[in-house]
C-alpha cells in the first residue's frame, strides 16, 4: 500500500510539474544564437517587459525548420535565408522578419599552414585550404552554418562531395561539438563569431580570417502560421516579434559584447518579407 502511494505521488508530481501556469511559448533557435550568450541577456528582459516565458529549443537551422513544420514550436529564429523563404512560401510561417546579423569567421591552427590570413576574400582563403590541402572540419549537419559553408565552397568552384576525408572531415554535429573536433585535430573550421569567442576549448586554434561581407549572417524571426497549426500561440509569437524590433531590444542586441567585441548588429526594420 505504502508503495502504491509513493508511486502515485511520483506520477502526480511528474504531471503537475509539466502543466502550464504562466504565459509560455516555445522558440526554436540556432546553437550560434544560444552559445553567444545573447539569449541569457534577452530572456530576462522579455520576462520583465512582456511577462512571457520563452522556452528555448537549441537546435540547428535544419531541425528548427523541421520543428516548425510539425507545429512543435510557436516560432523559430534561424539564419538561412533561402530555406526560410521556402518555409514561408510553403505556408508554414506567415512572414519572416529580419532581426539582426552577425558574421562567420575562419578559425585555424595558429601557425596557419595554408597561409590564409591576409587573403582578400573568403573564397580565396578556402581555395588555399583546399589546394594545400589542410585539415578542415565541417559541421556536416544541414544547419544554417553548414549550408553557408557549402555555398562558399561552391563559390570557390569546388564540390565538397568530392573532397577526400583525409583532410575534409564532416563532423555531423553542432557548432560547439565541431569546434571541439577542430581543436582536437588542429584543423581549419568556419564558425560564427559568437560561438568562437565564447568557446572554452580553443587549444591551438586562432581566428585567421574575417570581414568579407559574404560572411554576414542574417537572423530572422518566423512565427508559425496558425493556418497550418491552429494550436500555436500566434499572439505570443507576434508579441515577441514586436518586442524584438523595439528600439530597446535592438539596443540591447547592439550593445552585447564579449571581451569588448560586439557580436550582433541589429538591423530590424518595419518591412517584412
Amino acid at each position: 500500500m505504502k508503495c502504491l502511494v509513493a508511486i502515485l505521488t511520483f506520477i502526480s508530481a511528474a504531471l503537475i510539474s509539466s502543466s502550464i501556469i504562466a504565459a509560455e511559448m516555445k522558440l526554436a533557435v540556432t546553437t550560434s544564437f544560444n552559445n553567444s550568450g545573447l539569449s541569457d541577456v534577452l530572456l530576462p528582459e522579455i520576462k520583465n517587459d512582456l511577462d512571457l516565458e520563452v522556452q528555448l529549443l537549441v537546435v540547428g537551422t535544419g531541425q528548427a525548420l523541421k520543428l516548425g513544420q510539425a507545429g512543435d514550436v510557436d516560432a523559430i529564429l534561424v539564419h538561412s535565408k533561402k530555406a526560410e523563404e521556402e518555409f514561408v512560401s510553403q505556408g508554414y510561417s506567415t512572414h519572416r522578419r529580419e532581426i539582426m546579423y552577425n558574421d562567420f569567421v575562419i578559425v585555424g591552427p595558429s601557425d596557419d599552414p595554408a597561409k590564409i590570413s591576409g587573403s582578400s576574400t573568403v573564397v580565396e582563403a578556402l581555395g588555399k585550404i583546399a589546394a594545400k590541402p589542410s585539415l578542415f572540419a565541417s559541421r556536416g549537419d544541414d544547419s544554417g552554418t553548414h549550408r553557408k559553408e557549402l555555398s562558399l565552397w561552391k563559390d570557390a568552384g569546388k564540390d565538397p562531395d568530392e573532397f577526400s576525408s583525409s583532410w575534409y572531415r564532416a563532423a555531423g554535429a553542432g557548432m560547439g561539438a565541431t569546434l571541439n573536433t577542430a581543436s582536437g585535430m588542429n584543423a581549419y573550421i568556419m564558425s560564427d563569431r559568437a560561438s568562437w569567442l565564447k568557446f572554452g576549448n580553443k587549444g591551438g586554434l586562432k581566428l585567421l580570417f574575417s570581414g568579407d561581407p559574404v560572411l554576414f549572417n542574417q537572423y530572422a524571426f518566423l512565427p508559425i502560421s496558425p493556418e497550418k497549426h491552429p494550436h500555436v500561440k500566434i499572439e505570443l509569437a507576434m508579441k515577441l516579434e514586436a518586442w524584438l524590433i523595439t528600439e530597446k531590444a535592438q539596443k540591447i542586441i547592439g550593445r552585447y559584447s564579449i571581451n569588448g567585441e560586439t557580436l550582433f548588429t541589429p538591423n530590424a526594420n518595419a518591412k517584412v518579407n
Binding site: N35, F199, N201, H229
Partner: protein, 234 residues
C-alpha cells in the same frame, strides 16, 4: 588531465555553493528517472514472472526478443517517441512533447525490457525450486506469481537498480523528446552534453562527477532502506 582535477574542484564548489539551478537540474534528473524506474518495474517485474511460470507456443522467441530489446538504442526510442508525440503525430493533441512526462515515457520504454529480462532470469531460477511446492499446494497462477515476486525481491531490486543505472545516465532519447529546455526539461546528462558543446570541459566534468555521486547515493540509500548486505539478511 588538468581538466579532470579542475572538474573535481568545481564539482565541490558547485555543491557547496548550493547553486539553485544545479539543484533544480538534479531534482528533475531524479524525478524523471525514479518515476520511470517505478513505472517500468510495475510493468516489467510481473511480465518477467509471468514469462517464467507460463508455457506457451512462442515462449522462447518472446524471451529472445525481450533479451534483445535490452539493447534498444536510446536515440531510436527518442525519435519514435518524438514522432508519436509531435503535433503532427498521432498523440500530438496531448501536448506532451518537450515535457518531463515525455522524457519519462521514453525512459520507461528503454528500461522496461531490461527490468523484465533480469526479473525473468531471477524468477525462473526460483521457480525451479518452488515448482513442486506451489503445484502441490494447488495455487492459482496469480498466487504463484505473487509468491515468486515476493520471495525474489532481492534479485528484483537488482533489476530495478540496473534500470535506474541505464536511465540516469541516458542522454540520447531525453535530448530529443525533452529538448533540453532550461528550467523545464534540462537534466544532468543533457546539461553535460550542452557544456561539452560549449567547450566548458571542467564544468561538464563537474556535472558528470555529481551525476556519478548521485547514482552511488541512490544505490546506497535503496540498499540501506531494504536492509540488504547485513548479517543473516542477504
Amino acid at each position: 588531465m588538468n581538466d579532470i582535477v579542475e572538474g573535481m574542484l568545481s564539482a565541490f564548489r558547485l555543491i557547496f555553493s548550493l547553486d539553485a539551478d544545479l539543484f533544480e537540474i538534479i531534482l528533475l534528473s531524479l524525478q524523471v528517472t525514479l518515476t520511470a524506474v517505478i513505472i517500468a518495474s510495475v510493468i516489467g517485474m510481473p511480465m518477467g514472472a509471468w514469462l517464467a511460470v507460463n508455457r506457451f507456443r512462442f515462449r522462447r522467441l518472446t524471451i529472445a526478443v525481450l533479451n534483445a530489446l535490452m539493447g534498444l538504442p536510446p536515440v531510436v526510442v527518442g525519435l519514435i517517441v518524438y514522432i508519436m508525440l509531435s503535433r503532427s503525430g498521432p498523440f500530438g493533441v496531448l501536448n506532451l512533447l518537450f515535457t518531463p512526462t515525455a522524457m519519462i515515457i521514453a525512459q520507461v520504454i528503454i528500461i522496461t525490457p531490461l527490468i523484465a529480462s533480469i526479473s525473468h532470469q531471477a524468477i525462473r531460477d526460483l521457480w525451479a525450486d518452488y515448482h513442486d511446492l506451489l503445484i502441490s499446494l494447488n495455487t492459482t497462477k496469480r498466487q504463484r506469481i505473487f509468491t515468486l515476486v515476493k520471495d525474489a525481491r532481492r534479485s528484483l531490486l537488482t533489476a530495478s537498480l540496473a534500470g535506474f543505472g541505464r536511465a540516469i545516465g541516458e542522454v540520447g532519447a531525453i535530448m530529443i523528446v525533452g529538448g533540453n529546455i532550461d528550467h523545464l526539461t534540462r537534466v544532468l546528462t543533457t546539461a553535460i552534453a550542452l557544456e561539452t558543446g560549449k567547450g566548458e570541459f571542467a564544468f561538464a566534468l563537474a556535472l558528470g562527477f555529481i551525476l556519478i555521486a548521485l547514482a552511488i547515493i541512490v544505490n546506497l540509500a535503496i540498499h540501506s532502506i531494504s536492509k540488504t548486505e547485513r548479517a543473516s539478511n542477504w
